[in-house]
């Protein structure tokens, strides 16, 4: 992880160093410390995810990397270059998809892409970008008539026309329906396979889990966890999560769950309650579930809900912050 900083002035183009390097980056807006000291390294060809709730500092971080917002402190290097001295070159070599860009409604897909292509000295033909984004049928359609998913794929195509070595995607699937999201994921998969470095932000843990080789979880401007999705999920302590609720009209227990006997069971690692829903992180589901049933029956409790799922990045976030990812 430290090979990049031993040679900070290594020649840019052929360097095998990281695609993206952040050291001690900070940014404040008025009285809010949006980004509070971030160190990151993203290797070439990696798909890296910045995950966190709204307001965690993801967009500020990615916009500093994109050279749209100057950092207050710290160093940012992309492809071995920085925004102070190599801005023009960097603009040619990276692709950017911003949150909530609205392209002119009355331009067609092809015209929009032709315009963006003209900004780059090198790149892929407009035809190819249309094909990659699967917008062939919409080539002559005006942007105003596209669906949310198609607009997002157009934004992606605009980011791709310059054949970028490094691609930034800021919440690419926010606001899309499930089908459009899966469609976009397939597109990102293809780009990964083509060997591009991708940095994406998201507040969907399933998206990060599905797409990213490595993930940084952000909260309040800081990175609170960093690793592959599997490593991070491993830190929850169990591979599975059991969720249950009890009916509250029981005369003996008044619906109060005594958690001590539950935590004493083998394979149960932790317990928390959220809006009446109890969550246990467990390993060896096949053994722990019957034990949980028995323990609850001993307390005279009736289950009104019971389900299990594999631990996700959401559970990692909950364990680290005590909050749900989508709590504002």
């Amino acid at each position: 992880m430290t090979e990049a900083i031993t040679q900070p002035l290594s020649p840019p183009k052929t360097a095998a160093g990281p695609s993206l390097l952040l050291r001690g980056v900070r940014k404040a807006f008025a009285d809010v410390q949006a980004v509070d000291g971030i160190d990151l390294e993203v290797a070439r060809g990696e798909c890296f995810g910045l995950l966190g709730p709204n307001g965690a500092g993801k967009t500020t971080t990615i916009e500093m990397c994109e050279g749209l917002t100057p950092a207050d402190q710290g160093t940012i290097e992309l492809l071995g270059l920085n925004w102070h001295s190599n801005a023009a070159q960097l603009r040619q070599r990276i692709g950017i998809q911003l949150q909530e860009t609205q392209f002119p409604d009355k331009l067609t897909v092809e015209e929009t892409l032709r315009m963006f292509r003209s900004f780059f000295s090198q790149g892929i033909p407009v035809e190819e970008s249309i094909r990659t984004a699967q917008l062939e049928e919409k080539r002559k359609s005006r942007v105003g008539g596209l669906s949310g998913g198609q607009k997002q794929r157009l934004a992606m195509a605009c980011a791709l026309v310059g054949d970028p070595e490094l691609l930034f995607l800021d919440e690419p699937t926010t606001g899309l329906d499930p089908q459009a999201r899966r469609h976009l994921w397939d597109l990102v998969d293809e780009l990964k396979q083509a060997g591009r470095t991708i940095i994406l932000t998201t507040h969907y843990m399933d998206e990060a889990q599905r797409l990213c080789d490595r993930v940084a979880i952000m909260d309040h401007g800081k990175i609170i966890a960093l690793g592959t999705p599997q490593q991070l999920i491993g830190t929850v302590g169990g591979e599975d999560i059991v969720e249950f609720a009890v009916s509250g009209i029981d005369p003996v227990s008044h619906g109060i769950v005594d958690t001590a006997p539950l935590l004493a069971l083998p394979g149960i690692h932790s317990h928390r309650v959220d809006a009446g829903l109890h969550q246990l992180s467990v390993s060896e589901l096949h053994k722990s579930v019957p034990a949980i049933f028995a323990a609850l029956a001993d307390q005279g409790l009736h289950l009104s809900e019971f389900r299990t799922h594999s631990a996700t990045l959401e559970d990692v976030f909950v364990r680290l912050t005590g909050r749900n990812l989508r709590d504002e």
């Binding site: 950017i96 002119p104 315009m115 900004f119 780059f120």
Partner: protein, 343 residues
């Protein structure tokens, strides 16, 4: 051709031009509206016989003497009724028979009433037997080039160039800023100056259509004269459009909302609508504000166009006006390049 296709300045300009043509409202305001306005004014101020003035007298003899003049119609009223009708504007003048003299009652700040006073006195004196000391005859002119429509067409042209440049640029830019398109564009390698220049260039393409359309209409319908060089007139339109485009860039360089931009735009355009002599000569304003009035780009544009079209003055004799317009192009464009907000 292939070179053009890959040139970002060409692409940006074409995009602007296409977006303009795909906006039906813009087409109306820029092409149809000035023609409706010119047609309306042409009808309202068409040449017609001089107005007949309504007057009254207190005796039938006086009324008869007044009615003998072709420029007057007269009725007989008693003094109190006549005074009432004077106050309500139904008559312009009341001739009152006094013992051995006549008194005229009228408002001397009203030009029509002053004319009525001259005509009435002449009619009454003639009826009483006055002879002309010197014989005189009238030689009337209704010549092309001195009519009101000839005066107002250059004014409307200037006003239209101002309006279309300002509205077109300000709204497109503020919308692009609001929709975060500007931010997306600066995130790409696009040269920033080319984006702003594409607005000026696409304006020029639209300008050609706009000017030919409007002046062609004025020529065919009203026979408005073109006494100066047409090339110089085109050059004037071009410089005028550049000046207002630059002003439009300046107005939209910081505004984040349409409301803010509209307010600023009205602040810039309203003084010129009033002061720059679109509908009447700007020299009517008091001498103390004349330096300000003359320095306005619309005043310079309209006066130079009137000089060209109505008097055939060559551009080399209007260098002062051209210099004012060029200054209004260079200064706002330079400032807006510096202060333009891309996000």
């Amino acid at each position: 051709m292939n070179n053009l296709e890959t040139s970002s300045l060409y692409q940006l300009t074409m995009v602007r031009f296409k977006l303009f043509l795909r906006e039906p409202e813009a087409i109306f305001w820029i092409f149809v509206f000035p023609i409706i306005l010119a047609a309306g004014l042409g009808i309202a101020f068409r040449n017609r016989p001089a107005d007949v003035l309504q007057v009254a007298a207190t005796t039938p003899q006086l009324t008869q003497a007044l009615a003998a003049d072709k420029g007057l119609t007269a009725i007989t009223l008693d003094e109190s009724e006549g005074t009432h009708q004077l106050a309500t504007g139904q008559i312009l003048l009341l001739a009152i028979q006094k013992p051995g003299s006549i008194a005229y009652k009228y408002d001397d700040t009203n030009p029509d009433a002053r004319s009525a006073r001259l005509l009435a006195d002449r009619a009454i004196q003639t009826a009483a037997g006055r002879q002309n000391a010197v014989p005189a005859a009238n030689d009337l002119i209704h010549e092309t080039g001195s009519r009101y429509i000839d005066f107002v067409v250059p004014g409307l042209l200037g006003m239209n160039l101002m309006g279309s440049a300002m509205w077109g640029i300000v709204f497109a830019l503020v919308e692009a800023r609001q929709k975060k398109l500007l931010k997306r564009l600066v995130a790409s390698p696009m040269p920033k100056w080319q984006y702003l220049a594409s607005f000026l260039l696409s304006r020029l393409a639209i300008l050609i259509i706009e000017v030919v359309f409007f002046l062609g209409f004025a020529r065919l319908t009203f026979g408005v004269p073109f006494r100066g060089s047409l090339w110089e007139l085109c050059l004037l339109c071009l410089i005028t459009s550049l000046a207002f485009s630059a002003l439009g860039l300046l107005v939209s360089s910081r505004a984040k909302t349409m409301e803010a931009a509209s307010g600023l735009m009205n602040l810039v355009m309203l003084p010129m609508w009033i002061l720059s002599g679109v509908f009447f000569s700007a020299t009517r304003f008091p001498a103390i504000i004349q330096p300000f009035v003359q320095a306005l780009p619309l005043t310079a544009a309209i006066e130079a166009m009137r000089g060209n079209m109505l008097q055939g003055i060559s551009l080399s004799h209007q260098l002062g006006k051209v210099a004012i317009l060029l200054a209004w192009f260079v200064v706002p464009f330079t400032i807006s390049l510096r202060i333009f907000r891309w996000r």
